[in-house]
């Protein structure tokens, strides 16, 4: 069933994208193929793929490698995605250290750590990763609200 839904989504998406790609035309062109042809070609292949998924009967022999989803897992996955989005939103705003500490505590709780262990892990990761990457490996990270502490 999910195959069919995906087939429909793929088909609708490729038609929609193809419609928006229709207007891609170069004002001046020095070559016979414009910017439009190649994406349109791919989108039509994808649309064909969508139709195939829609039409093809689910095979009885097909074995899925992935365990099926249940409500419990879906809730956990959603929480995890929400955490990631919040992390992305506050990454620069709060700065790396506070954002990562809070995020790590949330993630550690989600993966079954006790409160105490999660808080310790979060603090260690937030500060440790900053020192490792910003100071040692020269990858610049935002300080955010802690920027007054910068030496």
């Amino acid at each position: 069933m999910s195959q069919r839904i995906f087939g429909v989504v793929l088909l609708v998406a490729s038609i929609g994208l193809a419609l928006s790609a229709w207007g891609y035309q170069a004002p001046f062109s020095y070559e016979p193929v414009g910017p439009r042809a190649y994406p349109l070609l791919l989108l039509s292949l994808l649309a064909l793929g969508g139709i195939y998924l829609l039409v093809k009967p689910a095979s009885a022999h097909a074995v899925s490698n992935e365990p099926p989803l249940d409500r419990h897992v879906v809730r956990k996955v959603t929480t995890c995605v929400v955490l990631l989005v919040i992390y992305a939103a506050v990454f620069e705003l709060l700065g790396f250290i506070p954002a990562s500490t809070v995020f790590a505590i949330g993630m550690a709780r989600l993966y079954g750590g006790s409160w105490r262990a999660s808080v310790i892990a979060g603090l260690l990761l937030g500060v440790g990763m900053y020192l490792l990457f910003d100071k040692l490996l020269d990858v610049p990270l935002p300080l955010g609200i802690l920027s007054s502490l910068e030496i």
Partner: protein, 504 residues
């Protein structure tokens, strides 16, 4: 002999103390990264790209680092397969078939050292293959024009789908999704913004590192949520750590056969280590005498996939270096890294920057040797790492991944994009779409469009140029063969099943 002169020069590069140290760090980091659940060779290598860049490593050192990490990851994945029966990635699945039973029988040390030895033999054979064949292919590849390249890339995509076994259509769809994603952003030829929908963050296209880490790290983090077990007990590696001469001779023929097969499969674009390990395991099982113990701890069943694995890992460097076409997900990542350094892999690389190519090839020899020397004494240490609980490990992986993404452009837009791609990747994975096909499509996509447009500019829009030279005819014939093969195989399987039904 030109080749040996160059190889000597390459060893000169690889054996300089600085590069030697880099290779040592790379193999060590790689082994640990491969060992950890949620991180495999693909995201291991991708994570190091921004770091190598930030550290200001010269290109050949960076490439040596990435190659060493790649080989280390391939090896590290074995440790968790053998001791935990949890393969870290797809190509290690077969290793667990015989590796875990061996560990349960108290031969974990022997199993680990035999697998290290097999990887070493496979890597050595394949690297020799690279030395012998890559320059030949590079010389030949200079004759390739844009039309030939375009057809060759079609072959690579078709090969990917045809080799995928049970799900060719899904692989093809995944590859097309990757090809399409590469269209996003400013079109380099005309300056038209494609599929950006007014977003500035997308104007530059989807960053390669963002795609890789989204697809492989974020989706893996989500998958780990499903496995609720915490700190599963690893089998203790006790008893004899080293295999004896008898055991070595027992697997020698298997090593040689699987090494050759693995190299050939690795060279084919699109077919990677997963296929190589599965194919060699099955053929060794067939070759073995009736009273074999395959599946219950046969050393040959462990040696075959291990040898093939590292042979194909090295073999996939051949199309990457000579044609600029990746043979596996990880080499796709390495091409992405090369592009960051403004190095275009392809036949000209052999002429213009031989120190990079031969330095890399020589460092494959060095890294293989280091792995076997380092791994046997350090097995006890590596098994300790397996005991790290998820609640400490996963947040660390998530934070490192975010740093890797942020380091590319220093915008939070990429972090949102990574999360979005990760969710999409998770859904696709749940529906059994192979994610590495998306990655290969993404790498090939840009090249493919450029070559198609260049070819058609030469011919002034005449499609005939795609069928005009003997090289294109040969490649088209291979494309047709590759499409026909799986169809024929399905047909035969159906016929067999029908015959069985009729007999029953």
């Amino acid at each position: 002999m030109d080749t040996f002169g160059y190889l000597g020069q390459g060893f000169g590069v690889a054996l300089s103390p600085y590069n030697l140290l880099t290779a040592l760090c790379g193999t060590f980091i790689g082994t640990i990264v491969g060992l950890l659940p949620g991180l495999g060779p693909i995201n291991g290598v991708a994570l190091l790209i921004p770091i190598a860049f930030a550290l200001g490593l010269p290109p050949e050192t960076a490439l040596i680092l990435l190659a060493a990490v790649y080989l280390g990851c391939e090896y590290g994945g074995r440790i968790s397969s053998i001791l935990l029966n949890i393969p870290g990635e797809a190509s290690a699945v077969v290793t667990a078939f015989d590796g875990y039973p061996l560990a349960q029988q108290g031969k974990a040390g022997v199993a680990l050292s035999i697998s290290a030895w097999s990887s070493f033999v496979g890597g050595l054979m394949a690297t020799t293959g690279v030395v012998l064949f890559a320059p030949l292919l590079a010389k030949w590849a200079v004759a390739f024009g844009p039309a030939e390249y375009f057809v060759l890339m079609i072959f690579a995509i078709v090969c990917l789908a045809g080799m995928a076994g049970d799900k060719p259509v899904k692989t093809a769809i995944a590859a097309c999704i990757g090809l399409f994603l590469s269209c996003i952003g400013i079109d380099a030829n005309s300056g038209v913004y494609r599929f950006t929908f007014g977003s500035l963050g997308l104007a530059d296209g989807i960053q390669f590192v963002v795609l890789v880490l989204g697809l492989f790290s974020v989706s893996e983090i989500l998958v780990l949520l499903e496995r609720t077990h915490h700190g599963e007990q690893a089998v203790k590696a006790s008893g004899r750590m080293l295999f004896n001469v008898k055991e070595m001779m027992f697997v020698l023929a298997t090593n040689i056969r699987s090494g050759i097969a693995g190299f050939v499969i690795g060279v084919l674009p699109g077919a990677g280590a997963t296929l190589a390990s599965a194919v060699t395991y099955m053929s060794e099982k067939r070759l073995a005498s009736k009273d074999n113990k395959f599946g219950n701890g046969d050393l040959r069943g462990l040696a075959a996939p291990e040898t093939a694995n590292s042979a194909s890992a090295c073999g996939s460097m051949v199309p990457m270096l000579t044609l600029g076409i990746p043979g596996s997900g990880t080499t796709a990542v390495m091409i992405g890294a090369l592009t960051l350094y403004n190095i275009t892999p392809g036949p000209l690389l052999f002429q213009n920057q031989p120190e990079i190519v031969w330095g890399l090839i020589a460092s494959l020899f060095v890294a293989n040797t280091m792995l076997i020397v380092m791994n046997i004494p350090l097995i006890k240490f590596f098994t300790k790492i397996l005991a790290v609980p998820y609640w400490a490990l996963v947040p660390a992986i998530a934070i490192i991944t975010s740093i890797g993404v942020y380091a590319v452009h220093a915008t939070t837009f990429d972090l949102f994009l990574m999360t979005g791609i990760g969710v999409a990747g998770y859904i696709l994975r749940k529906m059994d779409f192979p994610l590495s096909a998306i990655l290969l499509g993404f790498i090939l996509g840009g090249l493919m469009e450029q070559n198609l447009r260049r070819a058609l500019s030469i011919s002034n829009g005449d499609l005939g140029i795609l069928f005009s030279s003997p090289i294109t005819w040969v490649v088209w014939a291979m494309v047709v063969g590759m499409i026909a093969l799986p169809i024929w195989r399905t047909y035969r399987r159906r016929a067999e099943r029908r015959a069985e039904d009729a007999a029953a």
